[in-house]
């Protein structure tokens, strides 16, 4: 279960208001896509969900509990790039989350526990179609393969909420279609709630069960920083999947 409540959240940097009064109720297992012009605060919003940034006012809750003010395993993340660990092979990258969970002191597993974690990581890699590249280093992978690895890495910890920050923005169009299929499948299999920031409107309509657009509601030409952006459209999207459309 991972219902997300955003309660009157504001984000200000000094006099500059980035987000104002964002209010949302997101049901469990929703796929929320977020679009908006650049600089409209959608990435800031994602960072607050992640715990990288704190709201100036208001609160964010998962299942009624306020989120911790720093990143934790409840909230997985896939960035556009740079989130692979270059010194680990693909399988070690995916295994890392399991090792960190079970081994607090060394951060490594040995013997039977290690074999078990490795098998789980291998199954995950197979599920994202990367089993053949398990022993390569991230630098030797194409962009699409790196993103598959990042997704596998995040999903194996079974986060309640998965945050995607333009995960397919740097990929070729042909690769993107495969990635869409992959993310939808993992979303169904793991029952996560997903938030995805995207600059591709078509992609957002196609993947999401709910689409948010961020924009400024008011504009002061004399001081463009005075007002922040908020959710301007909040659309439930009807989809082919057999679940009832979410009520919002």
């Amino acid at each position: 279960m991972a219902a997300v409540t955003v309660r009157n959240v504001w984000k200000e940097y000094g006099a500059q208001v980035v987000l104002e009064n964002v209010r949302l109720e997101i049901a469990d297992h929703e796929f929320v896509t977020i679009v908006g012009a650049s600089g409209c605060g959608k990435t800031t919003f994602l960072k607050m969900l992640l715990g990288m940034e704190q709201p100036t006012r208001g609160q964010i809750l998962i299942d009624g509990v306020p989120i911790r003010p720093e990143p934790d395993p409840d909230r997985g993340v896939v960035f556009q790039r740079y989130s692979a660990f270059p010194h680990l092979t693909v399988i070690d990258n995916v295994m890392l989350g399991l090792e960190l969970r079970s081994s607090k002191i060394t951060g490594r597993l040995f013997g039977a526990a290690r074999r078990e974690a490795r098998a789980a990581a291998m199954a995950m890699l197979e599920s994202v179609g990367l089993a053949h590249a398990a022993d390569r280093y991230p630098a030797q992978l194409s962009g699409g393969m790196q993103q598959r690895m990042s997704i596998a890495q995040a999903v194996i910890r079974k986060p309640k909420v998965l945050l995607l920050d333009e995960p397919f923005g740097a990929l070729d169009p042909g690769v993107t279609a495969d990635m869409h299929e992959l993310i939808l499948r993992l979303w169904e299999e793991n029952r996560m709630t997903i938030f995805m920031v995207s600059h591709d409107i078509q992609e957002s309509f196609q993947l999401g069960t709910r689409l948010l657009t961020f924009d400024k509601l008011r504009h002061d030409p004399q001081s463009p920083e005075a007002y922040g952006a908020s959710v301007t459209y909040d659309m439930p999207l009807s989809r082919r999947r057999p679940r009832a459309a979410p009520s919002s």
């Binding site: 270059p86 960190l100 951060g107 630098a139 910890r157």
Partner: protein, 244 residues
């Protein structure tokens, strides 16, 4: 060219000491490297080499450890960064040779002072270089590790340290020149054995036939160390090698 110049000078004055003939160098070297010294009963060349390598080796080890600890502290823990970063910057600016007398006075004339000189000379630079590297790690990596459940300790152990090793080796390679400089300086001033000590001892007799092979030997040692470090880097840290 050396042979010609040496020959010309010796033809003019058979007692010339500045450019000894190769045969003379070889015979002196032989007596230093393979014959026991009549006074101490030790083979001087190897005793000197061993003494110097021990000093520079322990100094490099201490500097590397210190550099790693400081860099991780500065790079990962913001409160330590605020405290240590300016301090380290200032310490790195102190000319180490200028405080050599202080070291000899405080630590005595034994090994500690010599090793300390090298450590003071190179550890701050290594630490600053490594701290910069920690700063270069993309923020996304740190956040990702936290979402995978990493504590600060696990973050250091599994994400930060492993990515510092190759840079540590680069840093050591670059520090090697200064390390030898400080070693020879310390040995020249107060020592009873060591490569630097020997060179400065025989300087009084203009014994170029000893100095020249020693210089060649020091160079060779430095080149071999550099090569060894480079090999370790390529083989142990394959992930850090640029794609070819």
């Amino acid at each position: 060219m050396y042979v010609i110049a040496s020959h010309l000078r010796l033809a003019e004055n058979p007692d010339d000491k500045l450019l000894p003939a190769l045969g003379k160098i070889a015979s002196t070297f032989h007596s230093y490297a393979f014959e026991e010294d009549s006074r101490t009963g030790r083979v001087l060349f190897w005793a000197d080499t061993w003494a110097s390598l021990k000093r520079i080796g322990s100094a490099l080890l201490i500097s590397a450890t210190l550099g790693m600890i400081l860099a991780v502290g500065i790079g990962v823990i913001p409160r330590l960064r605020a405290l240590l970063s300016p301090l380290l910057g200032t310490i790195a600016m102190i000319p180490p040779l200028a405080i050599l007398p202080v070291l000899f006075i405080v630590l005595g004339l034994e090994e500690t002072a010599k090793i300390s000189l090298i450590v003071i000379g190179i550890a701050p630079c290594i630490a600053r270089d490594l701290a910069l590297r920690v700063g270069e790690l993309p923020k996304e990596q740190i956040i990702k590790a936290q979402t995978l459940g990493a504590s600060t300790w696990q973050l250091i152990l599994r994400v930060v340290l492993p990515q510092l090793w190759p840079r540590l080796i680069d840093s050591l390679r670059l520090s090697m020149g200064s390390a030898w400089l400080f070693l020879i300086a310390a040995e020249a001033i107060a020592s009873t054995e060591g490569l630097g000590y020997r060179i400065f001892l025989v300087r009084r007799y203009l014994a170029m036939d000893v100095i020249l092979p020693y210089v060649v030997w020091i160079t060779l040692l430095a080149v071999l160390t550099d090569l060894a470090l480079r090999l370790i880097r390529t083989h142990a840290f394959r992930w850090a090698e640029p794609e070819r």
